[in-house]
Symmetry: C2
Subunit: 299 residues, 2 copies
């Protein structure tokens, strides 16, 4: 099974979000599982799956067909960094699908998008063709506004499409990656420096947890700040550890965690891990779950 | 789907435990999911399922055929209360199976056991025919040793079988109930009075949590004490609440929780609840789980 989780730079206009959802939903053999929109981020995340590589590619092409004429980055404002109207398009292998199959479908999709919409495409993560362009934050650094300069650098010639930023749609980052968890923590303060301190403490690059990326984000509509995280390998850096570290760092400012948020969907195993850690279950195994054990016996 | 979770008064002799497991495993259309044995309790819990009422009854009859000649309560010692060699046999409805179907199979099974082995049977929980005999602790009070007196009381005429305790196998409690979670917490002390205080604090009957039953048990082999619990309705009294209450009460004695233990299997939903509570997930729904969402779309 193929999963695709595009991030589109529109989190406010319901008609555009609905039109994109409908385009995915109407693709044969594709199941739209989740739509997560955030007005402060001004961004939506669509999660859909298919057993067919062709179908998951078709749904993604339809998403571009709807989004490109409707999302104009020149007038787009949001708290989340972005370089494209369709910002990033990861394909994720589920069940017995392999990473190579996801790389193949991501490359095929990228090529067709570039041809159809004249958008520069950067292949990332497992689909990357240049080691220094593997990581999303590196590709995205400087944002849409800086990309017209960046693209003239020889190191930033796109993998597909013109060496010129699309005027309204920017560029797109397309690739294949392992499942990640997009997990945000809301802090009971409007002081962005508290979220900054928490993000610095928790993220791998600045000395925190190896498989965590984190950004401080102001949620103007809520009067709160947020630590917006990606957990790149929840088996090695589990949810509860990231949560505890943010909690501890926030406490140093006298600030508590108000709530957290799962963007898109979360694997069952990641939630089991949190529960068994807090309950201190001895000899925990996934097959202590009734439903998992029943499925195991049926297959 | 029918689930059956008999508790047998043997947790030490591997040959008996294996023979019982094999009797279940060899029953056509029955899947043995879990065997949990505890030498201190001197008790084993077998979890098996079937889509067929006849098959789940057959497996249970085979379990009795193997256990009755092998388990002699006259020489049985264990930390867990018991009244029978096969102490308690709950049938549990899963998926689309109804409670009435489980009541029916429990009654049919009980009748055949009584006839075949001349064991007095008490129907309990949803299968109970007397309101005052609905709850297991009431039926089991006094234990095997006291049952020869108890059974002569007019209120304790068995539902099936002779009004005389089986010399080696005692009596059996058979019935139908909702899924429960058997959850034990180990405390870092050998002082039984700490486990007693925690059990009193957490269980509904003495003023604690409505759907928790709890017993203090000494684990001689580990040099620890245990709060042995049944969570009768994990949706209304979740695992994390019972855990926190025991933790708080133990702390009053300067004692911490060493580990916990799931006896048998636990429903996925119960673990999701613990995780989302600790993570403070806003707007939590089960369909935020990737696999649940995929299954939902496939069915």
């Amino acid at each position: 099974m193929f999963e695709c989780v595009p991030n589109v730079s529109e989190g406010r206009d319901a008609s555009t979000i609905d039109a994109i959802a409908e385009a995915i939903r109407s693709t044969p053999d594709v199941h739209l599982l989740n739509v997560h929109s955030d007005p402060d981020h001004n961004r939506s995340v669509f999660t859909y799956v298919s057993d067919s590589a062709d179908a998951i590619r078709d749904a993604t092409l339809r998403l571009y067909d709807v989004a490109i004429p409707r999302v104009d980055l020149r007038i787009h404002h949001g708290a989340h960094p972005r370089v494209g109207a369709v910002d990033v398009v990861p394909f994720v292998p589920l069940e017995t699908t392999t990473m190579q199959q996801c790389i193949d479908v991501s490359v095929a999709t990228a090529q067709q998008i570039a041809e159809r919409h004249h958008i520069p495409i950067y292949l990332y993560e497992h689909a990357a063709r240049h080691d220094e362009r593997r990581e999303l934050p590196v590709i995205r650094s400087g944002g849409f506004e800086n990309f017209p300069q960046k693209i003239h650098d020889a190191r930033w010639v796109p993998d597909f499409g013109p060496a010129q930023v699309h005027p309204t749609a920017g560029v797109s980052v397309v690739g294949a990656r392992v499942p990640l968890i997009a997990f945000n923590i809301q802090l009971g303060t409007d002081r962005i420096e508290v979220a900054q301190a928490c993000a610095r403490a928790v993220r791998g690059i600045s000395g925190g947890l190896r498989f965590v990326r984190a950004l401080p984000i102001a949620l103007a509509s809520k009067g709160l700040v947020q630590v917006s995280m990606n957990l790149l390998d929840y088996r090695r850096t589990p949810l509860h550890r990231a949560f505890t570290l943010v909690e501890t760092e926030a406490a140093r400012f006298g600030v508590t965690i108000v709530s957290s948020e799962i963007v898109g969907l979360v694997p069952a195993e990641a939630m089991y891990e949190v529960a068994e850690w807090h309950l201190r279950v001895s000899g925990w195994k996934k097959n202590m779950i009734l439903e998992e054990r029943i499925r195991e016996r049926r297959t």
